[in-house]
C-alpha cells in the first residue's frame, strides 16, 4: 500500500442547520463536501484552491480530527482520522489565517512555549526553536512582547511559528497569509518553502484563495468549489490544458448596460468575465481561436464602447478556475455572500 501523507476516499460532510424557532423543526442540509478523493504524497506542498465557502476549511477540519465526515474516510500520516485520531494528532499541526489563539497576557515566547508543551516537547528544545523560527519570520525583536500588544500581522506570524514549532509530519495551513501585508506574506511563503526543502519527509497542505500564492508555492493544486474537487494537478499542467485557447484582457470605457452574455453567445467564446471599476470595465475572455477576437471587438465598438487596452496573456490559475466553474473566483464569492458588498 502506498504511504501517502494524506489520502481521502469519497469523503463527504453534510451539515444539518437548524431553522429559527418560528420555522418548522425540519433541519436543512448543507453539503459542505461531496465525494472528495485526494492523495497527497509525502514531501509534497499541496494546495486547495477555492472561493470562500468552497469546503476547504471543512476538509482541513476533517483531516485534523476536529470534525467527523458524514461519508467516506480519510487517512493522515497513514492513520485513520476517525478510528485512530490519537495516532494522527501527534503527527500534525494546523494554523488558520486570522486566528487569535493564545493568551494576550503572555509574551510571544511564552505563548509558543505553552503550545509546544501540549505536544510533549522539552522546554530547552522548544525555546531554541522559538528563537530560530522567530528570526526567520522577522519577529525576534518581539519575543518578549505580550501578544496582546502585537498587530494583526505580527500575531499571525506568531501563530504560523506555532504550527512549525512542533515539526509535524503533516502541517495544515488554512489561509495563512489572510490579512497580511505584502512583506509579511513574503516572509511566510519563505518559511513554508524553506521548511519543506529542509526535510523531504515533511508535507504541507495549504488552503488559499490567492491564485498567485498557490501558483508560486504548490507542487500540486486541487481546485474546489461547492464541496467538489473539480481538478487536481500541478499548476503547470492545469494551465497547459488551457494553452490551446487564447486568453485576452480588454479594458474599456463604461459598458452602459452591455452584458457579457452577448459575447458568450458567440461560438468561439468559451468564457467571458466582466468587472466594472472606477468608470472603466475589464473583460477577460477565453477564446477557442485567436481570430475570434475580431468579432468580439466588432461587437464592443458597435455598442459605442471605447477600447482602452487590449492584451493577450498566458493562462493563470484564475483562468483555470474560470474555465472549470464558469465564473471568476471573486464573482463566486460575491454570489455566496451578497451582503458583504452592501
Amino acid at each position: 500500500m502506498p504511504d501517502y501523507a494524506i489520502e481521502t476516499q469519497d469523503l463527504g460532510r453534510v451539515y444539518k442547520i437548524r431553522g429559527n424557532k418560528k420555522e418548522s423543526q425540519v433541519r436543512k442540509e448543507l453539503i459542505a463536501l461531496e465525494k472528495v478523493n485526494l492523495t497527497v504524497e509525502r514531501g509534497e506542498l499541496f494546495g486547495l484552491l477555492g472561493p470562500n465557502g468552497a469546503g476547504k476549511t471543512t476538509l482541513i477540519k476533517i483531516l485534523t480530527t476536529l470534525l467527523a465526515p458524514t461519508s467516506g474516510w480519510a487517512r493522515v500520516a497513514a492513520h485513520d482520522v476517525i478510528k485512530t485520531p490519537h495516532l494522527v494528532r501527534p503527527r500534525i499541526n494546523m494554523v488558520s489565517g486570522g486566528e487569535s489563539s493564545g493568551y494576550g497576557l503572555l509574551t510571544v515566547r511564552e505563548n509558543l512555549w505553552m503550545f509546544s508543551q501540549f505536544y510533549g516537547m522539552s522546554s530547552k528544545e522548544s525555546n531554541e526553536r522559538i528563537i530560530d523560527l522567530l528570526k526567520i519570520v522577522g519577529l525576534e525583536d518581539r519575543i518578549h512582547t505580550k501578544s496582546s500588544d502585537l498587530s494583526t500581522g505580527l500575531r499571525q506570524k506568531m501563530n504560523i511559528v506555532r504550527g512549525f514549532l512542533t515539526d509535524p509530519e503533516v502541517l495544515f495551513l488554512d489561509e495563512p497569509t489572510l490579512g497580511l501585508d505584502v512583506g509579511a506574506s513574503r516572509d511566510v511563503r519563505k518559511l513554508i518553502r524553506g521548511w519543506l526543502d529542509a526535510n523531504k519527509k515533511r508535507t504541507l497542505l495549504l488552503t488559499t484563495h490567492y491564485m498567485v500564492e498557490a501558483e508560486e508555492l504548490c507542487d500540486r493544486v486541487a481546485i474546489i468549489n461547492k464541496g467538489r474537487v473539480l481538478a487536481c494537478d500541478s499548476p503547470a499542467n492545469l494551465k497547459r490544458n488551457l494553452q490551446r485557447d487564447s486568453i485576452f484582457e480588454i479594458e474599456t470605457s463604461p459598458l452602459n448596460g452591455f452584458s457579457n452574455q452577448i459575447l458568450t453567445n458567440l461560438p468561439e467564446v468559451k468564457k467571458a468575465a466582466l468587472t466594472e471599476m472606477d468608470g472603466r470595465a475589464k473583460l477577460e475572455l477565453i477564446l477557442k481561436e485567436e481570430a475570434a477576437i475580431a468579432s468580439v471587438i466588432n461587437i464592443i465598438t458597435q455598442k459605442n464602447i471605447k477600447i482602452l487596452r487590449l492584451s493577450k496573456r498566458e493562462p493563470t490559475l484564475e483562468d483555470v478556475f474560470m474555465e472549470l466553474v464558469g465564473q471568476r473566483m471573486e464573482d463566486v464569492e460575491k454570489e455566496e455572500s451578497p451582503n458583504d458588498n452592501k
Binding site: L67, L106, E110
Partner: protein
C-alpha cells in the same frame, strides 16, 4: 546559520503518556499564575472589594453583640469567596471563552489530554487564588484581631485539600456543561454568584439554616469545606458546625469522586459532540 539549516531541526524528543499529561498541566497553569503578576488590578477587585463586604458583616455582628468567633467566620468566609469567584469565572466559563478565542480547537487537535488542560486551569487558578485568599485572611485577621486555635493542622490541610479538589472538580465538570449551553454561560455564572454566597454560608454558619436547606447547599463543596475548617480553627466552631467534621470529610471525598468522574464523562461527551456536529469548536462560522 542559513534558513534551511535553522529549519532542519534535529529529531524531537517528545514525551507521551503521564509525562505529557504533567507537562500539559504545568503549561496550562502557567498563564493563570503569570497573568496574576502582570495584571495588578486583582489587588483592588479581589482583595479590597471583598474586604469591604467582610468589614460590613464584622460591624453588623459587633453592633448586635454576636459571639466574637463570628468575626473569624466572616474573615475565613471572605477569603474563600475568592475560590468560588475563580471557579465560576475562570473554570466554568473558561472552555466557552477558549472556544471564542480559537484555543479550544487547538487543544482538541493536540495529542494532550483535555482533562490535563482542565486540570492545568484548575491548578493555576487554585495557586493564583490562594495568594488572594491568604491576603484577605492576613488583612482581615490584623484589622479585626481574629484569634485562631487550630485543633489539628493536618486535618485542616486535608479538609482544605478536599474542599478545593471537589470545588475545582465541579468547575471542571461545569466547564463542559457551560460550553454546551453556549452564550448562556455568562448568565449562568451571574446567576450562580450571589445565591451561592448566601446558601454556602460564606458570612455565617450554615447551621442557621433549616437542615434540608443546609444539606442541599452541601452540594457546593465550599459549604461543607468552610464549615469543617471553621470547626477546626475556632474554639467554639464545633458547637456552630452543621455536621461532625468526620462526616463532612466523608461527604467531601464523595463530592471529589462525583465531580472528577463527571468532569471526565462530560469532557468526553463534549469532544464527541464537537467532532460529530462540528459546531463546538467553530468560533467564526
Amino acid at each position: 546559520m542559513t534558513t534551511n539549516d535553522a529549519l532542519a531541526f534535529s529529531a524531537s524528543e517528545k514525551v507521551i503518556g503521564w509525562r505529557l499529561f504533567l507537562k500539559t498541566i504545568v503549561a496550562r497553569a502557567y498563564p493563570r499564575i503569570i497573568g496574576q503578576q502582570r495584571e495588578k488590578s486583582w489587588v483592588f477587585f479581589e482583595i479590597f472589594l471583598p474586604m469591604l463586604a467582610v468589614a460590613a458583616y464584622v460591624y453588623v455582628y459587633r453592633a448586635i453583640g454576636a459571639p466574637e468567633e463570628y468575626v473569624g467566620f466572616v474573615v475565613v468566609g471572605g477569603a474563600m469567596t475568592a475560590f468560588w469567584m475563580n471557579v465560576l469565572w475562570s473554570m466554568s466559563s473558561q472552555l466557552y471563552w477558549e472556544k471564542e478565542q480559537g484555543n479550544l480547537a487547538l487543544y482538541i487537535m493536540a495529542p494532550n489530554s483535555m482533562m490535563a488542560i482542565l486540570l492545568g486551569m484548575a491548578v493555576g487558578g487554585l495557586l493564583a487564588t490562594a495568594l488572594r485568599a491568604v491576603a484577605i485572611i492576613l488583612l482581615g485577621s490584623l484589622m479585626f484581631h481574629v484569634q485562631y486555635s487550630v485543633a489539628s493542622f493536618s486535618q485542616l490541610l486535608f479538609v482544605f485539600f478536599l474542599a478545593m479538589t471537589a470545588l475545582y472538580g465541579m468547575g471542571m465538570m461545569t466547564a463542559s456543561l457551560f460550553l454546551l449551553l453556549g452564550r448562556e454561560a455568562w448568565h449562568l455564572s451571574n446567576l450562580a454568584q450571589e445565591p451561592i454566597y448566601l446558601v454556602s454560608g460564606f458570612y455565617f454558619p450554615i447551621k442557621s439554616f433549616n437542615f434540608w436547606v443546609a444539606a442541599a447547599a452541601s452540594f457546593i463543596p465550599l459549604t461543607l469545606g468552610l464549615d469543617a475548617m471553621r470547626q477546626l480553627i475556632f474554639p467554639s466552631g464545633a458547637s456552630l458546625g452543621f455536621l461532625n467534621v468526620t462526616v463532612e470529610i466523608a461527604v467531601l471525598i464523595t463530592l471529589c469522586i462525583v465531580f472528577l468522574v463527571g468532569a471526565k464523562f462530560l469532557l468526553d461527551y463534549m469532544e464527541r459532540l464537537a467532532i460529530r456536529e462540528g459546531r463546538i469548536t467553530e468560533n467564526r462560522r
